[in-house]
Symmetry: C2
Subunit: 523 residues, 2 copies
């Protein structure tokens, strides 16, 4: 399939008015044709205006129509065939199997939201019947969630399909009824163009207004700033660096009308080795940890970057075994030169800290990353804030704590995280119970006897967490609850049946779950 190097606005492929840039194959270390072009402020404005014009129609399409739209996008993505996988491989250095898996995840994600739409309880319909005899009389009140407005979505570099053009942010925004203006990640513009074409095809097949989706291409921070500042944009979805997310938060907060930003930014995902688990399964945990750390060259938001144990021979053995388990994993290509450089710099900073000992560091040539493992004491970790920073890639820091109390103290000092992991045996339950309240305050997901990489797309998933893991710890960007980010409630008082949306009408024509006089039911 031809890649044209074009953005997509109003269903039309258009050339960005700004400067040219090329995709880059990080594995072959060569630039890829064709050239792409950065859109300018006028093109961003056009995309936003079209999104705004499409909004009222799109948000009032039936749930069935949006479900079919999501399924059609999935179909069109599959129809892109191997050219999508090939281009994604070239642009990211990620292996075929991983990308095929990610395509499956992307497609399933779209289908999951289609299911959610058909089930209907996401509308949170509430009906309080009139009580005309009461003094004062109670009016008839009916509440539903409606779409928030056009959403600006910033694609992530590390999931060129599942967190990119047709990823979770786009799928959940579409499901809610929000048009999406998508800023493509400049590291995989060709992959983005192909997926955008699939979406535009679905928009057309489903006879939706063309403004429902736009793909903006470009490099630099200017597009993001202009896009988030645009009055038509009503919410922002972002996955990327802390710096990037914070910059968008600042723009959103300083608008004449501030808007919510859902930015997933930074996490070091602490793993707590409780004593009995360490004693009984230390070797297996070291092995599992090494696999989780190096998976995808460590380029996951949920990478286990911090491992805490109680100092002593068992933790020392764990450190040796973990280092040994990392050694055979060869250095591998990172997504971009920038990410590879940041990784090297981060690892170097860590290695140079006083009282931080390097246990392993697999050598790597330019553009690649080798696993790195360090160890330090809890006291050092508590005093050196730089040790709390995320190093995006296969690097982790072990923390030797004096006792469980010190381990809890570290937990208490951590910033917000996406995940925390407990390795435990039944004899560790008391220790876990002591840690849990702290972890609940700090993270979005708590795992037992697993590793945090691998984020299931499900109803009960939370891929979110207190700041700075995300900008808004009240939300998740993965799983069906992600739709709630793009909704707001509207109440209708004494509205005649003829003017009510079907979801709110007396006879429940959609047959969905509703809260009727405070009782949940399909009434």
């Amino acid at each position: 399939m031809m890649i044209s190097g074009l953005a997509n606005i109003g269903g039309l492929e258009v050339k960005g008015n700004g400067s040219a840039f090329l995709a880059f194959d990080p594995d072959q270390q060569v630039s890829l044709e064709p050239a792409f072009f950065t859109v300018d402020a006028q093109q961003i404005d056009e995309a936003c205006q079209l999104a705004s014009a499409a909004f009222d129609h799109f948000r009032e399409t039936t749930d069935e129509q949006r479900a079919v739209f999501l399924e059609t996008i999935a179909e069109e993505i599959v129809a892109l065939g191997d050219s999508l996988i090939q281009r994604a491989m070239a642009e990211t250095g990620l292996p075929r199997l991983r990308l095929e898996g990610e395509r499956g995840r992307t497609v399933n994600q779209l289908k999951l939201f289609a299911e959610l739409l058909r089930e209907g309880s996401w509308r949170d319909v509430r009906i309080d019947s009139a009580l005309p005899e009461r003094s004062p009389p109670r009016p008839d009140l009916r509440l539903r969630m409606i779409a928030l407005g056009p959403v600006a979505v910033f694609a992530a570099s590390n999931f060129p399909l599942a967190f990119s053009v047709a990823g979770g942010d786009t799928a959940s925004a579409f499901a809610a009824g929000c048009p999406v203006v998508l800023k493509a990640h400049s590291a995989h513009p060709g992959t983005s163009e192909l997926v955008a074409r699939a979406i535009v095809q679905a928009v057309s097949r489903c006879q939706l207004p063309a403004g429902v989706f736009a793909l903006l291409t470009g490099t630099g921070n200017g597009i993001g700033q202009t896009l988030v500042a645009h009055p038509a944009i009503q919410a922002v979805g972002f996955t990327g660096s802390r710096q990037g997310g914070m910059a968008l938060m600042a723009v959103a907060a300083s608008r004449a009308q501030p808007i919510p930003v859902y930015a997933e930014m930074s996490s070091i995902n602490p793993v707590f080795l409780l004593p009995h688990a360490l004693a009984q399964r230390g070797t297996a945990i070291a092995q599992g940890f090494a696999t989780s750390l190096t998976m995808g060259v460590g380029q996951f938001c949920t990478n286990p970057g911090l491992v805490l144990g109680i100092q002593g021979s068992e933790f020392e053995r764990f450190a040796v075994e973990a280092a040994a388990a990392l050694a055979p994993t060869p250095a591998a290509t990172m997504l971009t030169a920038g990410i590879a450089n940041s990784y090297q710099a981060g690892v170097q900073t860590l290695a140079q800290q006083t009282d931080v000992k390097t246990l392993a560091h697999v050598a790597a040539s330019t553009g690649k990353a080798g696993a790195a493992l360090f160890v330090t004491s809890a006291k050092t970790f508590l005093t050196q804030r730089v040790l709390h920073n995320e190093i995006f890639g296969p690097a982790a820091l072990l923390i030797a704590c004096e006792d469980l109390a010190e381990m809890r103290q570290i937990a208490e000092k951590l910033e917000g995280q996406l995940t925390a992991t407990l390795q435990l045996e039944e004899e560790d339950y008391a220790a876990a119970q002591d840690l849990l309240p702290v972890l609940e305050r700090k993270v979005g997901r708590i795992l037992v006897n697993g590793f945090p990489t691998g984020v299931e797309v499900a109803s009960a998933m939370v891929h979110g967490g207190p700041f700075p893991a995300t900008s808004d710890g009240r939300s998740t960007s993965v799983g069906t609850a992600a739709i709630q980010r793009f909704l707001r409630p509207v109440s209708y008082q004494n509205m005649p049946q003829a003017l009510l949306a079907p979801a709110l009408r007396d006879k429940n024509p959609l047959g969905i779950w509703r809260r009727f006089d405070n009782v949940l039911g399909k009434v």
Copy 2:
């Protein structure tokens, strides 16, 4: 009941370390004894630290325990007896009947949240069972909402009970499991002290940690700034002026860890007179409008400050009748001298605008407000932004539109509002259908053939709306959905039963609604 002039921190009555101030009787124009004292930064810190220390315990009390706590507060408020009503009358100038009604509302609100806690679906429990045979295996995932953390609540001046110390923000935060650090409104410090005593009594009777509640007394903006900046505070509830809300939003956004602010700020609550309704019921609507506008001396967030009609003889007659209906309502005492002065200034500004005609202005002595009614054209309204500002009090502006298209254009240009009202007959449905999408984007509640004052505390109520009606249009501050402001989701992966909260355990020991493998049920 004695009023001591003290703040309440950690369950103890303490004298603020700062400067003294007195409450003021706006009706009698006299100061009221005793003196109150502004708390200092150290006292604010102490209250926040205690709230933080109480948090883990309080949020994991059972729902039944928190339900009983809310009911006990209600009981203790009733037990304050007439001294509460008397002090509130003296401090606010509001009449006895209104305050007795408001006490009933406050008590019912607490009981409604107790009911919600016992019903349990607010936890949004989701369970996705493990699929060990799938490739890769799906882990067991369980989600629940947990409390966000200590909440700073700023009491409103205009509802000294229902939006004050034990008002909706406090009730919903307590229900969620959040300790509350309450900044009392300096216009009714004695009323606040009495209600705080009721809460503290309930905290003690329910054997909760004393840090669950604190009452901070004082004047000036310093307390608010210090309180919202405190690291222990995790969310803010506020009802007041746009300027005040925006100042708190700025503090919250500039913290090292930004936190959500739920500020209810400003609304002019447009009323749309559709042609057939105006023709058929003009006189009755004028009467109803005048009653709604002057109720409580217009000191409601949902006061109907803007009325739009199609120009012509019927709208002219409506203007005359509305002005006539307002004339007999005597000027009445406003809550504070500041509010009265702002009202006079606002009315004066309006009267002086080019192309704005004064239809009525009831004379008022110092501290009082008389109703005021103005009329202008849609064109003038569109060009003069000052006409869009809220005037807190019994003032309204009529807008003569050329036709329905211009009426829709005005709707499109309005800022976010708490409410919009449609006066309509069946023949107006088409016009209403044309307006509704615009109104849905602009407001939190749409009423038909009523008036916006009178906000029912119910499951389907939305007392919220897009900025600047509130800081966060995704929320409501009235009704059971208000609890959602103070919650965030946590997911538990492969967590042993023994470590799970009861709401998440296999057997559903609480018997609450849960989403089990995507199906809602009491399983």
